[in-house]
Amino acid sequence: MRLFRTELTRFWSRRFMWAVTGLVFTISTVAGVVVFAKHSATVPDNDAYAIEQARRQTDECVRHFTESLPDSEREMIASDFGFDASSMTENEWEEFLRSEMCFQDPAWYRPDDPRFFATTLLVDTYQAYEIDDWSADRRDYSTANTFRSGVQTYRQAEDGLVGVVPVVATFYLVIAVLIGASFVGAEYKSGTLENLLLWEPRRVRVLWTKFAAGFVSSAVLTATLLTWLTALLYFVATQRGSTGAVDGRFWIDVGSTIARGAVIGGLFFVAAMSVSVVARNTTAAVGVILGWFAVSNIVIELTARWLRPWELFNNSTAFIREADAVRYTKIQGYWSTIYSHGYLRAGMVTAVWVAVMATVATAVFVRRDID
C-alpha cells in the first residue's frame, strides 16, 4: 500500500502530466467558448423563413424564363416536361414555370438550427435536434436498434454513439498513452527506477503497483477531463440552446460513456507503460502505440482481415462508443464489414490485449539487468 501511495504521489506530481492536462483543459475550455459564441438561444421561425426564401427564388426563376426565353426554346423546355407550349396561355406558361421548371422546395432553404442541443453530447449534430425525448428516441441512435433483428442473412454492425463525449474520449487515449509511456520512461531516463528497486526489490510488485496506480490515476484523469467538457457544453446548452430532451436516462448514458472512456484511458496507460518498460524509452513507446493506431487498419486490410474483430484500437473505440466490433465478409462479391461482437466483449478484448502486454513487460522487467 505504501508503494501504491508513492506511485500515486508521483503520478499527480509530474509536471509533464500537468502540462498535458492543462493543455487539454485549456483546449476544452476554448472549445466551449467557441461553441457558446457560435450558437444562439433565439429560435427563428424556420418554416416561414424557408417558404419566403423558396418563393423568392421561384419568382426570380419565373421572371428570367418569362422575359428572356425565345419561343423556340420555350417549346423545347415545355416538351421536356410533356407540355405543349404553343397551346399555353401566358398564365399557363407562368404556372408551368412556377410548378415544374422553377420549383423550389422550402425544405432546401431551412437554415441550421442556431441552438446548441445537449443531446450533441451523445449523438451527432444533425441527429441531436431531432431528439425530443432521450429515453424514447435513444434506441434509434444507439446500438440497441433494429439492425440486429436477424431478418437479414447477416447482422449489420452498429456505429454506436458518435457525439462529443464518446468521440473526444477516443482522442483522450492519446493522453493516456503519453502519460503512460513517460511514467516509466522518465524513470529509466533519470535512473530513479534503480533507486526504487533499492527500496523495494520485488520487481513484480513494483511493476504491477505502478500499473495499478497508473490505471486508477489515468482513469480518474480521463473521467475528470470528460466531465469538464460535458459540464461546459451542458452549460452552453442551457444558455444557448436546448436541454429539452435531457432526462435521467440521458445522464446515465453520458455517465456510462465517461466511465467506459475512463476505463479505456486506464487500460491504455497500462499498455503504453508496458511498451515503455520493454523499450526503456518514452519516445519509442509512444511511437509504437500511436504508429499502431495510425496503420493498424491498413495493415489488417492488406494482410490479415481475420484480425479485424480482435484488433486493439478497434475494440477499445467500440467499447467507448457502445458500438459493435466488426469483421470482414464478402457480400455479393464485395468485402463488407458486419457485426462481430458487442461493445462489452470489445471491452474484454481490449482488456485481454492490455493484460498480455503487461505480462510480457513483466517477464522482461523481472529478468532485465538495471544498469
Binding site: 505504501r2 508503494l3 501511495r5 508513492t6 504521489t9 508521483r10 506530481s13 509530474r14 509536471r15 522518465a186 533519470s190 535512473g191 530513479t192 534503480e194 533507486n195 526504487l196 528497486l197 533499492l198 527500496w199 523495494e200 526489490p201 520485488r202 529478468r367 539487468d369 538495471i370 544498469d371
Partner: protein, 306 residues
C-alpha cells in the same frame, strides 16, 4: 553482512564473445566498520555492488546480504542503504520531495527526512529542484537517501564523486561516524588516500576477481613494508658494499639509500656495513602508501567490467 561466493557476471554481446565483468569473486564483509572496495576502472566494482543489491542477475555464484539471498532481499532491504554510481532522482522534484517519496516506501516520517537533509548539509536547499543542485549537492542528497532508513549496512559506490575538498572531509567524517555507531559501511572509491584514512578493512579487485583483502595495515605490509631507509655518511660507498653482499639497494640522496629487505631482517644490513667500518646514523622501515600498494597490486591490469 555481505557474502559473495564464486560470483560471476557475464554480459553477452552480439558483436563478440561478450564480457566477463565479475569472475569467480569471493567477498566477505564483516561488520561493524568500514570496508573499502578498490579496483581500477572497469575492474568490476560497480557490477559486484549491483549484484549484491539485486539490480543485476549474476551469471553464477551466490550472494548473501545480511544473511538473505538476493531473492529474499526484500526481507532485509529496510536495513540496507545503498548508493550506486551517480545520484539518481527525479530532476523536477525537490530534494526533499525525492527523499519523502523514498521514505514513504518504508513509512519514514517527514521529520526524519529533514533530519537527514541536515546531516548531509542540505537543510537550506531541500525545497529546490534536484536539477538545480550542483554535482556535490546531488551526491550529498544521494548519501542522505541511503541514511534515511538508519540502515545497519551502508553500501556506497564512489560517494566522494563530485565533492569539493570540504565535502570529502565531511564524507570521511560521516563514514567514520556511521562505523562508530556500529554500522557496516562498504565503500568503493578511487580516492585512495581517503580510503586509507577511512577504512578498517580493504578488498582490492582486478579483472573481476579479488587480488588482496585484509586490514589496511596488512595490505600495506604485504606490498610496501619490504624496504628500509638507511641514513649513512657515504651513501655511494655503502650502496657498493651492500650490492656486493647481494642486497638490492639504491641511493636516494648524498646520505641515504633504500634497501629492499623486510624490516624484521634489517639487522643484517647493519652487520654488513659495520664489517666494512661504515656505521649507520639511522635505519627506519619505510611505510608505503595505499596508492603504492594499489598500483603494485593492479599493475598492468585493465579491467573488463565496470
Amino acid at each position: 553482512m555481505i557474502e559473495a561466493t564464486k560470483l560471476q557476471k557475464k554480459y553477452a554481446s552480439l558483436r563478440g564473445p561478450g564480457v566477463t565483468a565479475v569472475d569467480d569473486l569471493d567477498l566477505v564483509v564483516d561488520g561493524p566498520g568500514v570496508h573499502g572496495f578498490l579496483g581500477p576502472n572497469g575492474s568490476g566494482k560497480t557490477t559486484t555492488i549491483r549484484c549484491l543489491l539485486g539490480l543485476v542477475r549474476p551469471s553464477s555464484g551466490t550472494v548473501k546480504v545480511l544473511g538473505s539471498d538476493v531473492g529474499q532481499l526484500h526481507t532485509v532491504v529496510d536495513r540496507v542503504g545503498a548508493l550506486v554510481e551517480t545520484p539518481k532522482f527525479f530532476p523536477t522534484f525537490s530534494g526533499r520531495k525525492n527523499l519523502m517519496m523514498l521514505g514513504q516506501l518504508s513509512g519514514i516520517s517527514s521529520s526524519r527526512v529533514d533530519e537527514v537533509l541536515e546531516t548531509v548539509g542540505l537543510e537550506n536547499r531541500g525545497r529546490d529542484t534536484f536539477k538545480s543542485y550542483s554535482l556535490g549537492m546531488k551526491q550529498r542528497l544521494a548519501v542522505g537517501a541511503t541514511l534515511l532508513k538508519d540502515p545497519d549496512l551502508v553500501i556506497l559506490d564512489e560517494p566522494a564523486n563530485g565533492l569539493d575538498p570540504a565535502g570529502i572531509v565531511d564524507m570521511r567524517r560521516l563514514i567514520r561516524r556511521l562505523a562508530d555507531e556500529g554500522k557496516t559501511v562498504f565503500v568503493s572509491s578511487h580516492q585512495l588516500a581517503e580510503v586509507q584514512l577511512t577504512c578498517d578493512v580493504l578488498t582490492i579487485i582486478s579483472r573481476g576477481h579479488v587480488i588482496q583483502t585484509g586490514s589496511v595495515a596488512d595490505v600495506l605490509a604485504s606490498v610496501t613494508d619490504q624496504r628500509v631507509r638507511v641514513v649513512i655518511d657515504d651513501a655511494d660507498g655503502a650502496q657498493g658494499v651492500l650490492a656486493a653482499a647481494g642486497f638490492v639497494a639504491s641511493v636516494t640522496g648524498p646520505a641515504s639509500l633504500d634497501v629492499v629487505i623486510a624490516a624484521s631482517e634489517a639487522a643484517s644490513v647493519t652487520q654488513v656495513l659495520a664489517q666494512t667500518g661504515r656505521y649507520l646514523r639511522a635505519l627506519e622501515p619505510m611505510q608505503g602508501t595505499l596508492e603504492q600498494a594499489f598500483l603494485e597490486l593492479t599493475e598492468g591490469d585493465e579491467g573488463a567490467g565496470s
